[in-house]
């Protein structure tokens, strides 16, 4: 049984399928990171608006800018995973 498992693993590694799977898992992890970061921004922004509704315009602008900055890093990660999977095709 161990031999067949090893055989399957070897086939997956030889066909570069493992690397593509790794790229996919990496992409998913990047999404988790972006989700956590932007979620925290959202929480802070909403709490700030709740405390002081007059400042909601400034808080909204700041939240959008910070979300775009974090999204950039997340998309760089996704880009790296994409490049790996297209190189291996």
């Amino acid at each position: 049984m161990l031999a067949t498992l090893f055989n399957i693993f070897l086939q997956a590694a030889a066909n570069n399928n493992l690397a593509v799977m790794g790229a996919c898992i990496g992409s998913g992890l990047v999404a988790i990171g972006a989700g956590i970061g932007i979620g925290r921004i959202g929480g802070g922004a909403v709490e700030g608006i709740a405390r002081q509704p007059e400042a909601s315009n400034k808080i909204q602008t700041a939240a959008i800018i910070l979300a775009a900055l974090i999204e950039a890093i997340a998309l760089i990660g996704v880009l790296a995973c994409f490049l790996v999977s297209f190189q291996l095709k």
Binding site: I64, A68, L75, I76, V78, L79
Partner: protein
């Protein structure tokens, strides 16, 4: 009468509709191509007689819609492809400038069995893997400055931008002091938004006027090209990393050319940093000068291309499963994603312009204009 039978009596119509849908709709899910062996034989007959049928290549479809190409493919109806062939312009040392249409690379007439699609013209051919123009003699050095799909799209957007904004400028010049009308009133809130909220708040007082033309151009160029790429048959210009690289390099050049001594002082001697941290902080700050435009470039490129890939993937799902019922789930998602892409188009133009203003603002700042906090 029990409450249960009253329920069935009152809602017979709804129950009837539900049952009917439950029995009728699944039949569409099971409708697929080539389920019966009889039809498979017909397919095999077709292949033997010269009509080629290939399996659906998902990633090739996506790449074809995102990447640049030498012809503008608008639609394919059955076997007819509606494409606009674009001029290919090649510079080489001994032959000089050669201009010809990209349709020369396609064979005329019917495809015979076994014949490849592309052939060479004057020794040039398009490489199948990296889609570049190469010559049969591989040691020839050629410079390819053809009008590709992205270049043609950029020329169209330039014409659009110039047409709109020169009209607006003439209206402002000829009707001074009057209320805005027509296209002027459409763009005036956006122009004032860029001037007041983006440029004036981030670049100090006198310099704002100097950089306002570049910032306005940058904002509207990115916005227009993002929106044009969303149209069916549109080209993915701002999703081309060469274009975003150029925009980021322009911002970098402006930042470095207008940098004052205060800016470099903050890089080489950041205020409030203990001495032992300086060997780490100074290289990081110097790298930071270059990583900020690189982040600008990748942010715009990845956002726009990623949006296109998501929309294309959901539409491609229908063709992957070769089943029309997938469209019931797929098309509403695609519509929602397109609305999100509208927001992303505006947001990315705003963020690029805002960050450019912040970098240039920090470069032209005089000492004492901002509070140091120490």
């Amino acid at each position: 009468m029990t409450s249960k039978s009253i329920f069935f009596l009152k809602n017979t119509f709804k129950i009837f509709i539900l049952v009917a849908l439950f029995l009728v709709l699944p039949n569409y899910i099971f409708s697929q191509e080539n389920v019966h062996p009889q039809q498979d034989k017909e397919e095999i007959n077709k292949i033997e007689h010269g009509e080629v049928k290939e399996p659906f290549n998902f990633s090739e479809m996506i790449l074809h819609h995102i990447a640049d190409s030498h012809e503008w493919h608008l639609a394919s109806i059955g076997h007819t492809h509606i494409t606009i062939p674009l001029p290919i312009i090649i510079l080489s040392k001994d032959r000089g400038i050669e201009i010809f249409s990209s349709s020369k690379f396609h064979s005329e007439g019917e495809l015979h069995e076994g014949e490849k699609e592309e052939h060479t013209y004057k020794g040039y051919y398009i490489d199948e893997e990296d889609h570049k123009i190469k010559h049969v003699e591989s040691d020839r050095r050629i410079v390819d400055i053809s009008i590709t799909k992205n270049v043609a799209s950029m020329l169209i957007s330039i014409a659009l931008l110039c047409g709109i904004f020169i009209t607006i400028a003439n209206r402002y010049r000829n009707h001074k002091g009057e209320a805005p009308k027509g296209i002027q009133s459409l763009f005036e809130p956006l122009i004032i938004f860029v001037r007041d909220d983006i440029v004036k708040t981030n670049i100090g007082g006198k310099n704002a006027e100097k950089f306002l033309p570049y910032m306005l151009t940058l904002f509207f160029f990115i916005l227009f090209n993002n929106l044009l790429g969303l149209l069916p048959g549109g080209a993915n210009l701002t999703g081309n990393i060469a274009v975003t690289l150029t925009l980021a390099v322009l911002t970098l050049i402006l930042t470095l050319l207008n940098s004052k001594s205060n800016y470099w002082l903050h890089i080489f001697a950041p205020p409030g940093i203990p001495l032992w941290l300086l060997p780490i902080m100074v290289p990081v700050e110097i790298l930071g000068v270059f990583t900020k435009p690189i982040a600008l470039m990748i942010r715009l490129f990845a956002n726009i291309t990623g949006g296109h890939i998501v929309i294309l993937s959901f539409v491609g799902l229908i063709f992957l499963f070769k089943n029309a019922t997938v469209a019931l789930a797929s098309i509403p998602v695609v519509v929602a994603m397109n609305f999100l892409e509208l927001l992303v188009a505006f947001l990315q133009a705003y963020i690029f312009t805002l960050l450019s203003c912040m970098y240039i603002g920090s470069a032209v700042e005089e000492h004492g204009e901002h509070d140091h906090g120490h």
